[in-house]
């Protein structure tokens, strides 16, 4: 980190991602898991509604305000996970230090493995349903593709959120203990 000159954008993002005001939201592993679970639930709901909106024959316009309402907590949950990881996936590579770079590589590799397994399961499901009902692959291909795309996009965030660790003990507490104060 900081071996290259940081741009104004880098510094702004670094400040934003390290803003400690929302620390209580992701201070414990249980809260981080809750944020990830909420994010997964909202992503599934939003993806389902969007698929329904575009593929249903009846043009269900009621899904638009529902999606708008769900988008707000989705963005909050995204912010909480990004806060928990200190912007591991949002900051540019040269802004990260060696531990963060290694962690980002680890997160992306694990997300890639999980996504590969999900793609395999999706392809198998499509082929099996195709074998049972001839036109099923054609009917389900588009929503499945959207679902896979969304999962591929957000999986690193979920993995990073679940791998985030607790903040090290506060400095003043440590110093007081070490100095016998």
């Amino acid at each position: 980190m900081t071996t290259t000159r940081l741009t104004r954008y880098d510094r702004a993002m670094l400040r934003l991602m390290n803003d400690r005001r929302g620390q209580a939201w992701h201070a414990t592993a249980a809260r981080r898991r809750l944020a990830v679970a909420l994010h997964i639930t909202l992503t599934v709901a939003l993806g389902g509604l969007m698929t329904h909106l575009f593929l249903a024959e009846s043009e269900p316009l009621w899904t638009i305000p529902v999606m708008a309402v769900l988008l707000l907590p989705w963005m909050v949950a995204t912010g909480v996970i990004n806060g928990a990881t200190r912007g591991l996936l949002e900051l540019r590579a040269h802004v990260l230090d060696e531990r963060q770079s290694a962690e980002r590589s680890h997160v992306l590799a694990r997300a890639h493995r999980v996504t590969t397994l999900l793609l395999l399961a999706a392809a198998a499901a499509l082929l099996i349903t195709g074998g049972l009902a001839g036109d099923a692959p054609k009917a389900y291909a588009a929503p499945l593709l959207i679902a896979v795309l969304v999962v591929h996009w957000v999986m690193p965030l979920w993995v990073a959120g679940l791998r985030a660790q607790d903040e090290p003990a506060e400095d003043d507490v440590l110093e007081a203990a070490a100095l016998g104060r």
């Binding site: 980190m1 230090d97 531990r99 660790q165 090290p168 003990a169 400095d171 110093e175």
Partner: protein, 82 residues
């Protein structure tokens, strides 16, 4: 790969009254990384270990070791290890 590197970073940092944030800025790391090194949850690269040692003006072996450090009082007052 997962060899534990022991360190005295927390003690030296507290002794010199250096905050994690200022040490992190001086060596080009994130303040959490300093905390994880102190907790033994992350082993720094040689580059980072040398930068930290240089910051404190100490040889790298004074801060990092593959063997657990003896308590400082034992070293100062010469008590033999049990």
């Amino acid at each position: 790969m997962s060899e534990q590197v022991h360190n005295r970073l927390a003690m030296v940092r507290a002794e010199r009254k250096v905050s994690r944030q200022s040490l992190a800025e001086a060596v080009g790391a994130h303040y959490q990384t300093i905390g994880y090194i102190e907790r033994g949850q992350y082993n720094p690269s040689l580059d980072l270990a040398l930068k930290i040692s240089k910051f404190f003006g100490l040889p790298v072996e004074a801060l990092f070791s593959l063997e657990p450090f003896r308590p400082l009082t034992d070293e100062v007052y010469g008590r033999n290890q049990p």
